[in-house]
């Protein structure tokens, strides 16, 4: 019986088919919002689905000079780890499928696997665009990872737990942490944009310079899997932020409203900002955002210690 539940959790809900469809739907909403902000129509609702179906049907061309095994394994690894991350996150206002102390760390780790697989996939080919893109993706990874983690640690320290469920429960009982920790919320949003390589942090896939960045050589199934993984990661990221900063698990309806609000902020930022060069991205993260994150982290730590002593 337990096994059947596990299989359902893995393949249908919350992980698996459901979240993949959800990821694509959120990607569509994102594109549609950006289009609306730019005063144009944007894609029809089935466009991301149609793209993925088309890519899955297409032949995968494995370029010369690439290790075929690694070339095919990377997209699978990316999607698998994104889907695994879903298991530990309370999706759509429901409890997480699996939960254990410290699952926050595992989730954040699993979310980074996507970027690492993209970078590895890029370095695996001989294309120069891929190599430059992969280098940029890794450079950027080292920038946003620490501040993003700090932004998620803030609520964890406030709640005194490393378990997503407990932090969410704490967030539900107290003031929304967007009010108590606004800096953390800001960093988490910007960090998510970096993670998903959305503008202005899309230097790793800046099409006017390096075509499609690390994924230039991917044409068929592999590309579809990467796209799916990005969609899943978009939802996981939005969920984590809404759980921690926007008042806990609540119910499915509020979950959707909250994540869509967050998505709208992401879309507006994408529309408003110009792509940064990779050196500017690094500068922005380390000189500005990381310092902000550390300051907030220190403030929270001092506050927590003071409360613990008192």
């Amino acid at each position: 019986m337990n096994n059947i539940n596990g299989l359902i959790a893995l393949l249908l809900f919350p992980s698996g088919l459901f979240i993949m469809a959800g990821g694509l739907a959120y990607q569509w909403i994102d594109r549609k919002l950006v289009a609306q902000l730019q005063n144009r129509i944007g894609p029809r609702w089935f466009q991301p689905f149609a793209d993925v179906v088309k890519l899955l049907v297409k032949e995968e061309v494995i370029p010369e000079g690439a290790n075929p095994w690694l070339f095919q394994a990377m997209p699978i690894l990316a999607l698998a780890s994104a889907l695994t991350a879903v298991l530990y996150v309370p999706m759509f206002g429901l409890r997480a499928a699996y939960s254990f102390p410290g699952d926050l760390i595992v989730t954040v780790y699993l979310m980074s696997v996507l970027t690492i697989s993209i970078a590895l996939a890029g370095t695996n080919t001989l294309t120069r665009f891929s190599l430059v893109g992969a280098t940029r993706a890794l450079t950027q990874l080292f920038c946003y990872e620490a501040p993003f983690l700090l932004a998620l640690l803030g609520p964890a320290i406030a709640a005194g737990s490393w378990q997503i469920g407990e932090i969410a429960a704490y967030a539900g009982k107290n003031w929304w942490m967007i009010i108590t920790q606004p800096v953390g919320f800001f960093i988490a949003m910007v960090g998510l944009m970096g993670k998903l390589e959305l503008p202005p942090f899309d230097a790793p896939e800046a099409e006017t310079e390096i075509v499609a960045g690390a994924l230039t050589e991917y044409s068929g199934r592999g590309y579809a899997l990467f796209r799916l993984a990005q969609g899943v990661e978009l939802i996981v990221g939005l969920t984590l932020i809404s759980l921690f900063y926007l008042g806990g698990i609540s119910n499915p309806l509020f979950f959707i409203v909250k994540t869509l609000c967050l998505l709208f902020i992401l879309a507006a930022l994408q529309a408003l900002l110009t792509r940064l060069r990779i050196d500017q991205t690094v500068g922005l993260w380390w000189r500005f955002i990381a310092v902000l994150g550390l300051l907030q982290f220190l403030a929270i730590a001092i506050f927590a210690t003071w409360r613990w002593i008192g």
Partner: protein
């Protein structure tokens, strides 16, 4: 221990097919990390043999051939050719025709610069600015359609005048459109001068000094952004520019920001001059009679295309067809600045630097290489060239 003299070079190829290029061209950038250490350009992918083709067509037919040298600045090509042929024939187009030519030329400049602004914003990764400038470009394209009957390749000119008169209703419609455009142009000027994120990609990037601009012979807005006060409309006014002069815009800093700002400032100036012409339109005919045979002689005509100085050399042997026409488009002198500027910049700046000169590849690709070693002869007819092309590609495909 052995150390190699030659470090392995990492070359990023851009083109002939690349998302940053809207037309084919090939650039090789040697990079060290993200920094460009060497650059080279190879042009000529879009060579169409237009100069040769024109020798087989009559003076009238050529007007439409030259209009197709460039899709964006088609009117200025036709105007330059028509003005050159008129000069050669000793015919003067009536003042009203000249004024209409200037109106269309300035509207075309607005269209071209707005297009450029969108492209530049897209290269920088600022797609919202791109979408909005192109949305507003629709307005000016519609205005051109109202006046001339087409959104591109306006065909407003004929030899000795223009086709369509501007009626008071059309003029009112243009003025209404200009009101909207002027407001938007002011807004874009504000955006490109103030948006911190966009300025990060333009300020201090691709600085062309005045000395460098003069040494490389850079023309047009690119040169004026570096403090070179050179504008054919002002220096040697043609068509109706003597009656309706424009003010020259000059910026000093020479970077991408200056190139953006100067083009937007030129838009304001274009709007002003169009208004002035429409309000003081000279009365009279819009065409004069042109002879079918142009008397023997040769003439050089210079005009200011949106991208810079454009000149036509026209030679007639007294027949119905020109003996020789040579075109020099503004992109070719500007292209030198791309290769010169690229070294030392980041790879991410390259598309911006390339787009900064507003390149038009198909316009500039006009050279014909004749290989004497293979027994070529020095006079090639259109038929010869055609056969050569067909055979060349047949050979290529068989390999």
């Amino acid at each position: 221990m052995h150390t190699s003299e030659h470090r392995e070079q990492f070359i990023v190829p851009i083109g002939p097919q690349h998302p940053a290029l809207k037309e084919p061209g090939h650039f090789e950038f040697t990079v060290d990390g993200e920094t460009v250490t060497a650059a080279s350009a190879r042009l000529g992918y879009a060579h169409r043999g237009i100069e040769k083709a024109c020798e087989q067509r009559t003076w009238v037919q050529n007007l439409y051939l030259f209009e197709r040298v460039c899709g964006i600045c088609s009117h200025i090509h036709a105007t330059c050719y028509a003005a050159a042929v008129e000069k050669l024939a000793g015919v003067e187009a009536p003042p009203r025709a000249q004024a209409i030519r200037e109106v269309v030329a300035e509207l075309e400049r607005i269209h071209s610069h707005l297009l450029w602004l969108g492209v530049a914003a897209h290269e920088a990764g600022f797609d919202t600015l791109f979408m909005y400038t192109w949305r507003d470009r629709e307005t000016v394209m519609d205005l051109l359609e109202v006046i001339t009957g087409n959104r591109v390749n306006y065909s407003a000119n004929i030899l000795g005048g223009v086709k369509n008169d501007i009626t008071p209703e059309q003029s009112a419609e243009v003025l209404k459109g200009l009101d909207f455009l002027e407001k938007r142009i002011q807004h874009y000027l504000h955006v490109v001068q103030n948006d911190e994120f966009f300025l990060q990609r333009t300020r201090g990037i691709g600085v062309t000094t005045k000395e460098m601009a003069e040494r490389l012979g850079i023309v047009g807005p690119t040169a004026r952004a570096s403090g070179v006060a050179r504008d054919v409309r002002v220096d040697s006014p043609y068509i109706a520019y003597p009656q309706f002069p424009v003010n020259m815009m000059v910026e000093e800093s020479g970077d991408l920001e200056a190139r953006t700002v100067i083009r937007i400032k030129e838009l304001t100036e274009s709007c002003r001059v169009i208004r002035q012409i429409l309000e003081n339109m000279p009365e009279g005919e819009i065409e004069t009679k042109m002879p079918r045979r142009i008397k023997e002689g040769e003439v050089l005509m210079r005009v200011e295309a949106p991208r810079g100085e454009l000149w036509y050399f026209v030679k007639s042997n007294g027949g119905e067809k020109p003996e020789r026409v040579h075109v020099r488009t503004p992109t070719i002198p500007n292209m030198a600045s791309v290769v010169a500027l690229a070294v030392g910049h980041q790879l991410a700046d390259i598309p911006m630097i390339l787009a900064g000169i507003d390149p038009c590849f198909s316009c500039q690709d006009r050279a014909v290489i004749v290989n004497y070693a293979k027994g070529g002869h020095d006079h090639w007819t259109w038929e010869d060239l055609r056969r050569y092309g067909i055979e060349y590609y047949r050979k290529q495909r068989r390999v």
